[in-house]
């Protein structure tokens, strides 16, 4: 079930990204690609059923719906001819969610007590109970979202099997949460000049702690390797924003002026929406799309494609190497077009995005070599008993 053709017309061994140099003594490094044989129609059928049940159950069926979609996607993806298997259960996600709700309720109770005994009717308290609660959730929510992200990944991997062997994830989600919070905070303080450090140091625990049975993955990336490219992107991005702002200013201002539209007329357009308003909004949206689409987003996709290539080519699982030659254009399709599809279809296009993403993975991920199956054993632990409560709470779980 694998594509064992040579990628990009290169001979086997000359991998994109230059990860390895072929040596006669090396083990088998035959390239192959994953195969995704899911169909858009079937994925839609599962998704629409999920939406129908979501409305009937007021959203409580989402845990089971999510599980069904994962089962479909996982089992239609195969590497080296072996399909993935997803064995998570909806009730595990429900328990995770309820557990997170209990934690939040306990936190709310704690904040309520703090309000009653410390702040209530005190002259210095120029804020309400909701303010305290909102602020505290904001403070703990940021790191907790990262903790939830890592724990969610651990849950998903623990319910994933390949060749009958459970995957897993080592490491502490809390440690990851602390590191991620610190790095993002530091990055914001330094005007995002630390982005390569953040990207590499947050990818490392996620990749290096991933396990297929007893086989750990490894990551050999270093932020220093990608700094030059990032600085190029960073300053080009600033120039592009300035150019985009100037272009928008003159385009919008010039258009309004040439149409003889006063500010009052302009406001009236929106207060009494008509076909003219709709056309106006579409024209503005199109202009903005062109300006930002031509200047800003390609730059971002250029950087993201580079980062993706770097992260993939610096990861391995035992003697199995990975590579990708994902291009700026493909990254555009992944980041921008997928986003627009979800947005313009009001979410109904989501299965299409999922399908496109799986096809992209199958198309662009190259696997070199095959693992020594005999040396990979079933792990003794079964992973967490429930999952993704925090992810669900912070609405970042998706599929």
């Amino acid at each position: 079930m694998s594509h064992a053709t040579t990628p990009w017309g290169q001979t086997a061994g000359s991998a994109p990204g230059g990860v390895f140099v072929p040596e006669p003594t090396r083990p088998d490094l035959t390239p192959s690609r994953p195969v995704y044989d899911g169909t858009l129609g079937e994925l839609y059928a599962i998704y629409l059923r999920h939406l129908v049940l979501m409305i009937v159950t007021l959203g409580w069926s989402r845990f089971w719906g999510r599980t069904r979609i994962r089962r479909y996607v996982w089992n239609h993806l195969a590497i080296l001819g072996d399909r993935f298997e997803y064995r998570g259960r909806g009730r595990e996600l429900l328990i995770g969610f309820l557990f997170a709700m209990v934690l939040l309720a306990a936190w709310a109770g704690l904040m309520y007590l703090a309000w009653i005994y410390v702040f209530h009717e005190k002259p210095f308290a120029t804020f309400g109970m909701f303010d305290i609660f909102s602020l505290s959730v904001l403070l703990i929510g940021f790191p907790l979202a990262y903790v939830g992200h890592y724990a969610g990944l651990r849950y998903k991997l623990s319910r994933t099997r390949w060749r009958g062997i459970r995957c897993g994830m080592a490491g502490s989600a809390w440690r990851y949460g602390v590191i991620a919070t610190f790095l993002h905070f530091a990055n914001a303080l330094t005007a995002y000049l630390l982005t390569p450090v953040v990207s590499v140091n947050l990818s490392r625990p996620r990749i290096a702690n991933t396990r297929l049975g007893t086989l750990p993955f490894a990551f050999a990336g270093n932020a220093g390797d990608i700094y030059r490219r990032y600085l190029g992107y960073y300053f080009l991005n600033i120039v592009a924003w300035i150019a985009a702002a100037v272009a928008v200013f003159f385009t919008v201002g010039g258009t309004l002026e040439s149409l003889g539209v006063s500010t009052d007329d302009f406001l009236k357009l929106f207060s009494k929406p008509s076909l003219r308003t709709l056309l106006f909004v579409v024209a503005i949206a199109f202009a903005a799309y062109i300006v930002f689409g031509l200047l800003i987003l390609p730059l971002r996709c250029w950087w993201q494609a580079y980062l993706m290539r770097y992260l993939v080519t610096h990861s391995r699982a035992g003697n199995v190497l990975f590579a990708t030659a994902i291009s700026t254009r493909q990254m555009w399709g992944f980041l921008v077009l997928n986003y627009l599809i979800v947005l313009l279809t009001l979410g109904i296009g989501w299965p299409w995005v999922m399908h496109r993403t799986m096809k992209l993975i199958a198309d662009q991920l190259w696997v070199y070599g095959a693992p020594d199956g005999a040396s990979i054993a079933q792990p003794p632990d079964r992973g967490p008993g429930y999952g993704e409560g925090l992810l669900d709470m912070f609405d970042v779980s998706g599929i």
């Binding site: 129609g41 007021l58 959203g59 479909y72 120029t126 309400g128 086989l215 947005l343 979410g347 599929i399």
Partner: protein, 355 residues
């Protein structure tokens, strides 16, 4: 996609290309090359993981085991399913896709419509049935939150006067619960209603009112919101539509949620304008029913128009939470006849409520 069956022993990640044969009591998994037995699984312990709707090739396992048998060959799956009832799930063929998608699509649209109607019209009838204690608790909590950093006015006679009139008006409209009016010092020139019959007036409104009938008019308007349960209806509709948007969009996109929220705000504003019209009409009706001067609402709006000739509500159109002011003046215009809503002493006390 290889047609052969694959066996994973569940101990290591080795792959065994195997053949499969079913006997009366066992499923025999063997190596095709030398017919060597790889595994013998009792029929009554066989389990199919998943189904043909979700899994491309549902794995077969022995109950409580880790080993897996994956049969890629559809014909072999069908033969085994026909022979072994425990493996019937292997022959699960999904219904034709197009009719399935059409049925699901139509069902989804019907449910969205039904949900929308339930939220939009159902709240009209359901809101009064929400336990009053719950409404009052909600109102009190929001009130505490809103006035946490503001000073309230405590003039006893003024508060008593406005609360007395508020409750008379509410009773005239058949409202069974007590209404409480709070006065917050300062501006803006505004008043609003919270669930549980809680009214909040800003003292600037009382200070800048030309006469007592204007304050009584605004009070009657707010009582109109109370007796129609507008705060609870507004919350229920907003929450209901928000939930619907989230359910239908799958909640997978932040930007989509933002757009949904934008649409939801427009709906809330549309509801707001309908509520304002209803409260205006009810307020005037209550004042007339008690034989009080009912020109205060229109008078108050006229004063607002004098201060700000440009009708902000009319200019804002669909973005306004209130109907155009001129429209409200026309709808609430009444003669200057009727008893004064406050006695001279009460009116003076109300004007001095924050002193």
């Amino acid at each position: 996609m290889a047609a052969a069956s694959r066996f994973y022993d569940g101990i290591t990640a080795q792959v065994h290309e195997v053949g499969v044969r079913a006997t009366t009591g066992e499923l025999i998994i063997f190596r095709p090359a030398d017919s060597g037995i790889v595994a013998r699984w009792p029929i009554d312990e066989l389990v199919v993981l998943g189904d043909g709707n979700h899994e491309a090739a549902p794995p077969v396992m022995r109950r409580d085991g880790e080993a897996r048998l994956v049969i890629e060959d559809i014909e072999l799956r069908q033969r085994l399913a026909a022979l072994v009832p425990e493996l019937a799930a292997l022959d699960h063929r999904p219904a034709p896709l197009v009719p399935r998608l059409a049925t699901l699509g139509v069902t989804l649209m019907a449910l969205v419509g039904l949900f929308w109607l339930t939220v939009d019209y159902g709240t009209e009838y359901a809101a009064p049935w929400l336990p009053y204690s719950l409404q009052a608790k909600l109102g009190e909590t929001v009130f505490e939150e809103l006035v946490a950093d503001k000073d309230q006015c405590h003039g006893a006679q003024g508060l008593e006067a406005i609360n007395r009139l508020a409750n008379e008006l509410a009773q005239a409209a058949g409202y069974e619960h007590e209404v409480t009016v709070h006065i917050v010092e300062g501006g803006p020139v505004n008043a609003f209603t919270l669930p549980g019959g809680i009214l909040v007036f800003y003292s600037d409104l009382i200070d800048q009112a030309k006469d007592r009938s204007q304050v009584a008019g605004v009070l009657a308007h707010e009582i109109g919101h109370v007796v129609h349960h507008h705060p609870i209806k507004g919350i229920a509709r907003q929450y209901g539509i928000d939930l619907l948007m989230k359910l239908v969009s799958g909640g997978y996109s932040d930007l989509l949620n933002t757009l949904s929220s934008g649409g939801n705000i427009l709906l809330a504003l549309r509801n707001g304008r309908a509520f304002e019209r209803e409260a205006d009409a009810t307020g005037v009706g209550m004042l007339e029913k008690l034989g009080l001067r009912a020109d205060g609402i229109a008078g108050f709006f006229e004063q607002m128009m004098e201060k700000e000739p440009k009708d902000a509500a009319a200019a804002a159109g669909i973005w306004s939470s209130h109907p155009p002011t001129q429209e409200r003046i026309d709808a609430t215009k009444r003669p200057t006849t009727g008893k004064p809503a406050f006695s001279d002493a009460d009116w003076k006390a109300l004007r001095d409520v924050c002193k």
